[in-house]
């Protein structure tokens, strides 16, 4: 008896409560966004919210399963799980079902499963496993290439299935690498490249080159102890220019038109008013509707099931990627800031727990979980408010969908299990 009790209470209940709050509040909003006509029963599986209720029910079965498996299992079978996940992704090319232009689903009867949602935790496990190996040294090029290969394999497969949004999520592992000793210079380079890409697209290559030149040479001449030759600095400058030109070429020729337009709208690149008008009606339609819905909520919102734009289904995909606009309309600023706080608290809690882990595997995995959640949270909520360009990824625990909910639940609860096991590792 005593043993059983101890078992119960060693799980981190703060994380679990935050998880429950998100899933519960998420359900209320899916109910609002998806119901058609009268709500007769929350379990009406003819309606989307009823299905989601079923998903939530199954989630608890999953949680019990995950928590009852020995913690060591996840570390030892990480590679196998990763391999299986990769095979399911490859299998999509043969057996996959195309929905909305992306070949990311398996159809089983009337159900569809999106394996990329499960590939996330598998990759996190694999990364943790590889990096916690005693022989791995993140300072060496060889190991750096290996971990990058681990994350780029699923990223590439998903990209090939035309699901660009989910690909971006895998970049979140760089946070993990950095924590585990990746050199400072990579971070500098990454940030510089993002800035170069945005400035290059917005203001053109020439202005970017001039700004880069000013920054590089000022830093060169102002520094007392000259590090590196002048030629090296010139080479950096050339690289910058080449990169920003490359981004421009990529933007103009490699991107699909709808992706191009999303970026163009975000950076306000389009000057032709008629084209802009058309783009607003097509590419920005969701965004404009979602922003209107959010701002119409005001401080306290219109009330549960009272959102006029939500009821009128003005925001397409509102129950999935745009679920946050329902929160905005019906629960107002009170509701939205509550959700933002829940996510911030959850991620901070995971990071706190990760730092407290004795095993490197658990710590790296914890960091992986936090990073994946952070990227989803940032991109999704940033997108529905128009802060970043439209990228179609769900809001964890909140958006409608079985695969997504289960993927994130597994991701989180493996960590809860690992965390609960830290005492045994003494």
């Amino acid at each position: 008896m005593l043993r059983a009790n101890q078992r119960h209470f060693k799980f981190d209940w703060i994380t679990i409560i935050l998880f429950l709050l998100l899933v519960g509040f998420g359900f209320l909003n899916i109910l609002s966004a998806s119901h058609i006509g009268e709500i007769t029963s929350y379990f009406d599986t003819d309606q989307l919210y009823g299905k989601h209720m079923m998903f939530i029910g199954l989630t608890f079965v999953l949680i019990v399963l995950i928590l009852s498996v020995e913690a060591k299992f996840y570390e030892q079978f990480a590679s196998v799980i990763y391999l299986v996940a990769m095979l399911t992704l490859v299998g999509l090319f043969i057996f996959g079902k195309e929905v909305n232009g992306a070949r990311s689903w398996y159809g089983i009867g009337s159900m569809t499963i999106q394996p990329s949602e499960f590939a996330k935790f598998a990759t996190a496990l694999a990364v943790a496993r590889y990096m916690s190996d005693l022989q791995t040294n993140m300072q060496t090029i060889k190991d750096q290439i290996s971990v990058v290969a681990i994350i780029f394999t699923p990223a590439l497969l998903i990209l090939l299935q035309n699901d660009a949004g989910s690909t971006i999520v895998y970049l979140s592992f760089f946070f993990v690498f950095y924590r585990e000793g990746l050199q400072q210079v990579y971070l500098t380079i990454a940030i510089s490249l993002i800035i170069l890409a945005v400035v290059g697209l917005k203001f053109g290559v020439l202005i970017t080159a001039i700004i880069a030149a000013i920054i590089i040479f000022t830093s060169y001449f102002l520094r007392k102890r000259k590090r590196g030759s002048l030629i090296k600095h010139i080479a950096i400058l050339v690289a910058c220019v080449v990169f920003s030109y490359g981004v421009k070429l990529f933007y103009e020729h490699a991107l699909q038109p709808h992706q191009q337009n999303r970026i163009s709208l975000w950076l306000r690149l389009e000057k032709d008013p008629t084209k802009l008008e058309r783009m607003k009606k097509v590419e920005a339609y969701n965004l404009i509707q979602s922003e209107h819905a959010i701002s119409s909520g005001g401080l306290t919102g219109k009330g549960f099931l009272q959102g006029t734009r939500t009821t009128g289904k003005f925001v397409p995909e509102q129950h999935t990627d745009y679920i946050f606009s329902t929160v905005g309309e019906e629960w107002g600023f009170m509701g939205t800031s509550f959700v933002v706080l829940l996510f911030v608290m959850l991620i901070v809690r995971i990071l706190y727990l990760a730092e407290a882990q004795k095993s490197q595997f658990s710590r790296v995995y914890g960091y992986g979980v936090a990073s994946i959640l952070l990227v989803h949270f940032t991109i999704n909520i940033g997108m529905v408010m128009g802060l970043i360009p439209t990228v179609g990824i769900p809001l964890p625990f909140f958006s409608y969908g079985g695969s997504g909910l289960w993927g994130f639940t597994i991701l989180l609860f493996i960590f809860v299990k690992l965390d609960s096991n830290k005492i045994n590792e003494w």
Partner: protein
């Protein structure tokens, strides 16, 4: 350090999001307004607009259905050329119109209905209705328009038109496309006539389809029908007045002195109220609006502010008696004018002497009234004080200020007081001799016909009046108390008798002796007012305005009126005849002085009005020629039609 990157990123993102949400939802957001919510369709249900009846229960204004052809461009099924031609023929538009209208509607919104061809006639609608099925995306929307049961009283009844943006901003009740009273009683009794429209809130989806009533219809309201009103106008008298005013410019206002009810309110030129209904409304309105010479939309009975001329003399007589500066029997000898020393301050026409009050009024002697007026002003040491006393008496007749009644327009007129002349001449640098023109209703005194009519009513009542008003009865409501409470003048009742007798004698042996009607004791006063306009910035005198005020019968008066005919020359020439006819019409119901009637109907002043715009030199008053028109035969049947 490395531990901090991710945690600080999380907190930073959280802060940025909350700031952005605060901006979107709290800072940059006014309170939720259901009328601005595009997800809620507001469907209005317009109530019946109230009818307007005349004082005898005759229906003047009713409603008629009108049919607008509406289009939803997205739903328009492709039509072949033959079908389009057929549709155009039904709508009486050209193929080019069709393309333009459809293009305009598409530009406005492909999903929302736009008016395609507004206000079809009943006949066109009947033909179109059967074939409407063939033209998908078009439908017919019924609206209610005014239907005037009469051709008279355009200025009295007014019209309704679509609200403009400034009205919508000031009065949120009105939405784009709503109708509102524009002039006349339609404007002043808008709130009574229109009722309250009902509203249904309907939840829409993003394809503009209706889903369900918003919140089960708890905010929906039913329309409240507009109330019918009865106005004080006597339609028959109004019609007769308008007939008399044909080919003349001016105004007639007739009041029942015992109640203050306006019996007739004529302005000339006028127009047929039906011109402002239906498809030609805007065309006709533009035409009326831009006629800046004849100004048919300018209600002369209410707005024409001019020197009142001689009728104002009776006010001076009353003030003189009240102030005790003259006695009825005091005489004055007029030598064709009033002399101050050897200076002639004002002229006069030829009449016998000596002049007492009765003779002064009936002969309209200028000299006598300058004499009276100076005595009033000079009763006080300070002319300013005298002037103020005088002005207060005059203002107690409702002159010099708005009547504050239920007519859509009005003007203050002007009764100068001491301050007025102090401003004009400098403090105390003027005296009674400066301002003698006021004695005979010229100079600085200005009135509108309705003020003169009301003044006459106050005299007829021997000292009080009811604010002239046009509302007689509101369905299920009472009329405001201010119209049923008498307002007293500052003149004692006994002082009126000699003045009324003087006005009676105007008909007996005075300036209107040729206008007597057997069996009716009419009291009146003629007026002839000089007037000027600027032609190419040269002040030019035009033929005098013909003015007349009258009431009848002398005892227990039933009607008091003021008539003003622009450039009609002396008072009894046009205005006097018309006043007599109006009184006979109202009191007896038929006309015995057919000689006066045919004279008025066959004489036009159109040539007089053309003079200033002819660009050629012209003569006035004695030098002008009367214009005889030969449409008497055409006009007369209309008189018998006036039974309505």
């Amino acid at each position: 350090m490395r531990k901090l990157l991710l945690i600080s990123t999380v907190i930073l993102v959280g802060l940025v999001f909350i700031a952005r949400l605060f901006y979107l939802q709290v800072y940059d957001n006014s309170a939720y307004n259901i009328f601005e919510d595009i997800a809620i369709k507001k469907e209005y249900n317009y109530p019946k607009r109230g009818y307007v009846y005349d004082r005898n229960g005759e229906l003047l204004v009713a409603n008629q259905p009108s049919y607008d052809v509406m289009v939803i461009p997205r739903e328009v099924a492709p039509l072949d050329s033959l079908e389009i031609d057929e549709f155009c023929k039904l709508l009486k538009i050209t193929r080019e119109d069709y393309d333009n209208k459809l293009q305009r509607a598409t530009t406005y919104s492909p999903r929302l209905p736009s008016p395609f061809v507004p206000q079809l006639s009943k006949k066109d609608y009947a033909v179109l209705q059967e074939k409407m099925r063939k033209f998908e995306g078009f439908y017919i929307q019924k609206r209610s328009l005014r239907s005037y049961q009469t051709t008279i009283g355009a200025n009295v009844l007014g019209d309704i038109g679509e609200v403009n943006r400034s009205i919508i901003e000031k009065q949120p009740y009105y939405k784009l496309g709503d109708l509102i009273g524009n002039q006349g009683v339609e404007k002043t009794y808008e709130n009574v006539l229109r009722g309250v429209k009902g509203i249904k809130f309907i939840q829409k989806d993003r394809f503009n389809k209706n889903i369900a009533p918003y919140k089960d219809g708890i905010y929906d309201t039913l329309p409240k029908p507009g109330k019918d009103i009865t106005i004080t106008i006597d339609a028959e008298l109004q019609a007769y007045g308008e007939l008399l005013m044909k080919h003349k410019r001016g105004g007639i206002v007739a009041i029942d002195p015992s109640t203050g009810e306006i019996l007739a309110m004529v302005t000339g030129p006028s127009y047929n109220p039906n011109d402002l209904v239906g498809r030609n409304r805007s065309k006709n309105y533009t035409k009326l609006h831009y006629d800046t010479i004849a100004k048919p939309l300018y209600d002369r009975g209410l707005l024409a502010q001019y020197a009142p001329g001689s009728p104002f003399k009776v006010i001076n007589a009353l003030i003189g008696l009240q102030e005790g500066v003259i006695d009825v029997n005091d005489t004055y000898t007029c030598r064709m004018g009033y002399y101050y020393g050897s200076r002639k301050l004002t002229g006069c026409h030829h009449h016998s002497n000596p002049t007492n009050m009765n003779w002064g009024i009936s002969q309209s002697c200028n000299g006598y009234f300058v004499h009276v007026y100076r005595k009033i002003i000079d009763k006080y040491d300070d002319a300013g004080v005298g002037m103020n006393v005088w002005a207060n008496h005059a203002k107690s007749f409702g002159l010099g200020n708005f009547l504050n009644n239920d007519l859509s327009v009005g003007r203050k007129g002007r009764i100068p007081d001491g301050d007025y002349y102090d401003r004009a001449y400098g403090d105390n640098r003027w005296g009674s001799t400066y301002i003698v023109s006021n004695a005979i209703g010229q100079g600085e005194v200005e009135t509108t016909p309705i003020q003169l009519a009301n003044m006459t009513a106050a005299i007829a009542n021997r000292g009080f009046y009811y604010t002239p008003h046009i509302i007689k009865n509101i369905e299920g409501d009472t009329i405001p108390k201010k119209y049923t409470t008498p307002k007293y003048t500052t003149i004692d009742k006994e002082n009126f008798e000699p003045v009324v007798q003087g006005m009676f004698d105007v008909y007996n042996y005075g300036t209107a002796q040729s206008l007597k009607v057997p069996g009716i004791d009419i009291c009146g006063k003629t007026g002839t007012a000089e007037n000027y306009i600027k032609i190419d910035s040269v002040k030019t005198q035009l033929t005098d305005h013909s003015i007349f005020v009258a009431f009848a019968p002398k005892d227990n008066p039933k009607i008091a009126l003021a008539i003003f005919v622009e450039n009609g020359y002396w008072g009894s020439r046009f205005a006097g005849k018309m006043a007599t006819l109006m009184i006979e019409k109202y009191i007896n119901g038929n006309i015995t002085r057919t000689d006066l009637e045919s004279w008025i109907l066959t004489h036009s002043l159109e040539n007089e009005y053309k003079k200033p715009y002819s660009g050629e030199p012209f003569q006035i008053n004695r030098g002008s020629q009367l214009q005889v028109i030969d449409n008497y035969a055409v006009e007369l049947p209309e008189t018998s039609d006036l039974k309505l």
